[in-house]
Point group: C3
Chain length 658, copies 3
């Protein structure tokens, strides 16, 4: 069992702390320390948006206040996660060097404002960022209270400035080498789009080229490359100056704009900011929880199974959902312990104390404008702090998953870019979540991984809608199955290569036809209210949205369509391949069908399941010596699991020594 | 009793008249005079959009036609309201001096077109406006037929040109004096937004700074300042040349873009353009009427209780509602007399005669393209003209309201700018209207006033959602209550100061916690279909949208929440404060709850109420000697009020001598 | 009977073929020929998007491959329709000469990309187009395999570049001659919009002038003029070099952006691209079919009754509907033969073979990525090919319609431009379709024609919502009726002249009041859920949306309103005028009312009807000697018409010799 941070005994409990907003109110700063201790806070994240205070004028630095804060915290037993302050730039930087501001796809440069609004390829921005980062690293990098670097904040966005466009061209040229290759992979002879020079390549524009799917996809890849290239610039400085301090950046929930698999290559640990809409009006509490379990599993995936950090979460309501409900009683405890159950080694909040103005003045915080320590929210936080202390032995343990869901960002981009079928509404993410939820319901832990992940440790891999086959993916799936794995794929698998060029001769392409023993002839699309059904073992399961008409070669049907002109043709099939089995699901199931199929898959792969009451989640953290079984009751009723009785909204952690 | 215009015996009946569109058809102009007399019209509004005819080329003036029209009207007993023609500029002005055109928030300057599209800070526009206004004032300012100046038309809109941005910076600097003060009030340390120079201040932009709530609010305040600054430019010219002619400008219904309380400071009388959607499909006729009564009450508020003018209204359908229904029979009479009942001394139309082309060719008018005097619409107008003659003794009387609703435009801007809770849908205006309607239903006249109004004459003040406390407002409310007034406030009161900086230590802030004897700990938000209930005196009243969880100090609960985790905590409370009482309503009531609470408030304030059948409105105009009681039946059934029998859609005016 | 193309015996069966995308895969090209023959394909459309392959660099030509393809096709009995490649420009052209790219209404020039994105007034574009067109015409114009020129592709769009704006000013000046005339027709005195110079005229802009209805309409007319002006540039080159080759361009379904009546003046034959959403979820199959029958009738109208071409259609799903369903079994045959039944002499597809990438990679094609000839789709196409061969005697015959619906594009623009009534939702196209469908249901063939069409051959003309009366239209309708025709008009007839200036003295104007013997006093608008009813012969028929209140002079009422304040006033009236009758329908009927009125109109005009089961369509093609009666069963049930039994989805063609 490895300690995440050797300085800290057990879990981190803390959050974003912005004392620079209160420097003129020392009584507030004193109260903060006092209340942090009351709330069992052992770590504060500092400096995320401090640049304009740290460097109020170009080249004029003001780091004293920060030193005082770090020292004061440290003396009170509270560690610091220190952020590079590049998530938002000072006004002087934007006004003196407009090039640091991003240019939108209409070629208009942003004004100064908000945050996360700088060009990742701007040399000036990099230079100015380096100066302040060096100052911070030199002064605080070896402070015993500082345990982690937090790079910038929630990376996101694109830039269309001349520098970025030039970099994009360079990136394209580097990838495709020759114009012939580029034109072929992009299928540019269509609509007379052939490039006659790399200089003609432009990003996709609404008022320009948006009809070349490969180009659209490459722009998204480039944006990830560019963001990582910038992040690496910051990381390289820190690696040089503080080689022993670990580094993270805070991810966002299922963020569509970046391929976090790529970003993760540069990080020591994965952390994320989770803001689910608990107690919403469109799903049960457990459905919300199941989706959050998926999110946590995705973070495990990025970290190759290691514990991750819940860097931000809110003790009560946020300020940006359409309806911002208070967190109901029990929910704070449940949600924090779910994070731990799913592999987090921290529970952190945004933020410690509500600011008095600007955009997030109504974003929940541990301490309200009211300033009291007897509020419901403060007591909820206090309770979680105490529980985490009790559970400290769990810290460092991991989740041993035998199943994996492939949910791949680049594949998602490719699917979203498809012009056809159910236009702009193919439902990739929801589909992956649904398969994961079916496993969670059975107490089966499944990692969520990208298409390039190592699958060798898994017994079962479900790869929903793996439309695009990046290089080597088909081969890997083939080997996984040949070596005894159970592989399940669905409609919309293997249509295109990594540049969205269609395979000829039948989908799923790149050799997967043989793995699944079938090919797809057509793909029908249903109107939202239309249904077909899978008929299997005399039961019927509703089908919706997409219905592939498939032709079996060596595969055997396990269930057929009930109606329409393809009635009695296969929906669900299995093919023996090598030592394994390859299942194919040709249409989209509702949850009962997903459950029924999941049972078949689990049986085939020999993974144990657990009978769980509806609304109860189980997760197991394992430190080699012991298993910690978490039962979480996401219902308002008492529930029993084996011998464990769970009160409404209760959490129980049971230790099994091995 | 003061006469609005000494020249006119009784009410003004008339409207916008655009003879310049018909100068080549003298038979039409002759017919106009004839039909105006048939319709009992005694006043015409001229020149609103005449600039391009008055000054067809720069420096070339053509005022003869206008003189002929004014004379001809006057000789026929019809007075003139003369407009400055600056609501739309001539093409030559826009083409020769592009600076007069507005720049949108994307920094793109408008093309010539439509109207109300000029920069309020353009020196050229002011210069050219001054030239034509001087010409008009010199020639017509002392004409006995001209009784009122009508400044420009329906002021609205913003400009982001360099001149306006520079003026905004100057305005900001003038307001905040020091950068420290600005940064503190704007809470700019958040997201590293600190200004290091006033030169860095920019207006809010979608692609710039939109996250500083104080800045967003100040931009709106500046826009009002800039518009009034321009209006004053016109007014100063007229005050110089025609010091005895009164001046107005025409307001729009509950227009969100300007603070009319500020604008009104420069005007001699208040006038507005009212275009309700009578007989719509989303509310009863009475509900429409109740909202219009609110609108009229707001105009009384701007005029500090004086009679106002209904400068524009339509005798039938307009052309800009999604569905433009004909005004059903009786509705024209009802709506015109409702205006009078609520304090208007005029009934005026847009417009006299339908134009043959362009944007408003299907906007209703007294005379249709058909040109006949036997149409339903013409006869409706004729009837109203005759009734107004009969009622002439009512003219000049006023409404004596004992209650007031505080509905403050700047507070509305602050609320709309909130990021949080029920995002972008806090319902401020609807809430204020609902409280006013509850009073109207009981025959209680309530003024609608801004937060800076003098409250000393009222017994009851309801201040819904007074989120922002401008300087002195809390003190005024405190004094009002201490001196014996009944004050009612709701959830979302006193959260921020005038620059949207949160009060620390508990809402409602700035001393109001003591007035209401409580503080708010949290504010829950309900999904649209969710309901809680207020339990009061064994009855239950539905609650929705927003539920504050409050803690009472000295206040007593009058009713509690029925359900949710804050069940049995207070919703409705009262606090004895000085000689008065301060009521607090912590959640949003449906109409039955609003009614029940209103009864409590009215009883506490000793205001008499009247039992009115549903759908019947009562208003009383008082000229010191007599009261004129208006009963308006907004139902399709016969109704009785005391001894008065009202036919369907009937209006009765009963005089009570004092 | 005239042969459409003397070279081809019977119908054309084929479609767009893009071999340039496969030049590096000769086995594909060989397979294409083989499979075309299997599918009974006799014609391929080449070169639509080939410019970048034909002229890979400026002035460097590569026509060999095209010659090989044309030769190879010809040797295998397959003819070529050759396109000018100007539907999409090569990258070098856009990059070297940016002026060829369009400028949007925000004055921003497009980037290179997609297609149909060039300025129609660019001299450079015309020059470069001419060069490549001359090359093609010189090399292939006399090839025996090339039977038709296909000009560019699906013309559409607008350009706001300086050149276009200057041309627009020239066009305006040429039309109106004097400023006085312009100002009068545009009614610019309204809102002070008078032009003092033609140089001030600008196109309509969202941030400029959009309130002058005449200007808005003229901009659309100008856009058609400009597009035709460009098209004529291409046509003139071809007329010079290949005077005997016929010329077409492919229209789109009911495309709103161009007046095809104008475009058609330059073409030898009419062709269109039809992509209906068969088996959708918002209407019955027959309703879809009825609308397609309307579309075909419109193409007959453009071609003055001659056979037309179905230039593009899809054998299965398209890629741009929100839901892209597979064509169900039988539908391909039904839809292709419906085109033939309605007057098409071709059945052509987009496209022959699915490309491997870019925007249309999932647009249905005869040959799938799968590449097999045993797919459902391939067999459907094969079947149609075989049937067309059997029906070859039908080719060249025409439809003899005794009725016409006036559906005029310019009138539609004028209606869409109206500010008033049911705002931006007046439903013109749907209304015209509904009247046509009522005739189709009775087996009555009706042409769909513009307002300038020659009406002399018809017995019945229905002119729904003929809001705008272009010059001479009222006179023509008057003469048509006076000479014995039956004319039917509806609410919203004759409100404005060709420049949208209202008629004075009563609608319908320009002399039509006398033809119909009535005038309209008001036009009420109903909310979507509101209904009134037409009471006629003791039956009631629902009315919706728009209800004119009319006053009869010489007309007689045939049915009155049931309710509202205009109850018992006329809805449906007839006026004897000369030897004919003029019917007026003052409100919008639901389909039963439309049917009942249609019966009255048909009886009055003496047109024979046919009793058809619901869902069965009948069309008759007549070649002078014989009639070919097509019965199409758009239901899933067996149907009988006289002696003919139709299986579900069946088509029967019965020849009657004369």
């Amino acid at each position: 069992m490895k300690k995440l941070f050797p300085q800290i005994d057990g879990f981190i409990h803390g959050g974003d702390y912005n004392p620079e907003q209160w420097l003129d109110m020392p009584e507030i700063l004193a109260k903060d320390i006092e209340m942090m201790k009351e709330a069992h806070v052992n770590c504060a994240t500092l400096g995320v948006f401090s640049w304009s205070v740290l460097e109020p004028e170009e080249g004029v630095f003001n780091l004293e206040w920060l030193e005082n804060i770090i020292n004061n915290l440290y003396e009170n037993g509270i560690y610091t996660i220190l952020a590079t302050p590049t998530g938002a730039r000072p006004a002087w930087l934007a006004h003196k060097y407009p090039e640091v501001l991003r240019v939108a796809s209409d070629n208009i440069r942003n004004h100064f404002g908000v945050r996360h609004n700088h060009c990742m390829q701007s040399p000036v921005y990099r230079e100015k960022a380096e100066i302040i980062i060096r100052k911070l690293a030199e002064r605080f990098g070896n402070h015993p209270g500082v345990i982690l670097w937090h790079i910038s904040n929630e990376f996101s966005g694109e830039c269309y400035c001349d520098k970025c466009v030039a970099k994009f061209r360079e990136w394209i040229k580097n990838k495709y080498k020759t114009l012939d290759n580029l034109n072929k992979e992009y299928w540019t002879t269509f609509w007379s789009h052939r490039y006659q020079s790399f200089d003609q390549v432009e990003p996709p524009y609404d008022n320009g080229e948006f009809s070349v799917m490969g180009l659209n996809l490459d722009w998204k890849r480039f944006t990830t490359w560019s963001m990582k290239d910038y992040m690496d610039h910051e990381i390289n400085i820190l690696r040089e100056l503080t080689p022993h301090k670990p580094i993270t950046t805070n991810y966002m929930r299922c963020f569509d704009g970046l391929d976090y698999d790529e970003m993760s290559k540069s990080l020591d640990m994965i952390s994320w900011d989770g803001y689910p809409a608990w107690n919403n009006n469109y799903e049960s509490l457990w459905q919300t929880a199941a989706d959050v379990a998926f999110d946590h599993a995705q973070m495990r995936g990025y970290g190759k199974g290691k514990p991750f950090m819940l860097m931000e979460s809110v003790p009560s309501q946020v300020n940006w959902h359409p309806i911002n409900k208070l967190k109901r009683p029990h929910i704070h405890k449940l949600s924090c312990l779910q994070a731990v159950a799913c592999g987090s080694d921290t529970v952190q909040y945004f933020q410690w104390r509500k600011g008095r103005g600007s955009f997030e003045q109504y974003h929940g915080a541990v301490v309200d404008h009211l300033g009291r320590n007897d509020t419901r929210v403060f007591k909820d936080v206090q309770e979680v702090g105490a529980i985490l202390r009790e559970l400290k032995a769990v810290q460092g343990s991991t989740i041993k998953a035998k199943a994996a869901i492939i949910f791949d960002r680049q594949n998602g981009w490719a699917i979203d870019g498809v012009s056809g079928f159910k236009l702009h509404d193919m439902g990739y993410e929801r589909t992956c979540r649904d398969w994961h939820n079916a496993l969670t319901k059975r107490g089966v832990e499944a990692d969520v991984v990208g298409c390039c992940a190592d699958l060798s440790g898994y017994s079962l891999v479900i790869a929903p809608m793996l439309y695009m086959l990046n290089d080597g993916v088909a081969e890997k799936l083939k080997n996984f199955t040949a070596n005894g794995g159970v592989l399940a794929a669905t409609y919309f698998t293997g249509y295109v290569n990594k540049n969205t060029l269609n395979y000829l001769g039948g989908f799923p392409g790149d050799g997967l036809k043989e793995v699944f023993g079938l090919y797809s002839e057509e793909c029908d699309v249903l109107y939202p209210e239309e249904r077909n059904a899978l008929v299997m073992n005399e039961a019927e399961y509703e089908l919706k949205d997409l219905c592939e008409v498939i032709k079996l070669d060596t595969a055997k049907s396990l269930g057929n369509y009930k109606s329409d002109f393809y009635a009695d043709t296969p929906v669900f099939s299995v093919n023996e391949f090598g030592k394994g089995k390859a299942f194919y699901i040709a249409s989209r199931t509702e949850s009962k069908g997903t459950d029924a199929i999941t049972d078949v898959l689990l049986k085939a792969s020999g993974i144990e399941t657990k009978e769980l009451p509806e609304g109860v989640e189980m997760h197991i953290r394992d430190n080699g010596d012991s298993e910690y079984v978490f039962y979480l009751n996401f219902t308002d009723k008492e529930q029993k699991v084996a011998d464990t009785v769970l009160a409404p909204y209760d959490v129980q952690v049971i230790k099994h020594s091995k």
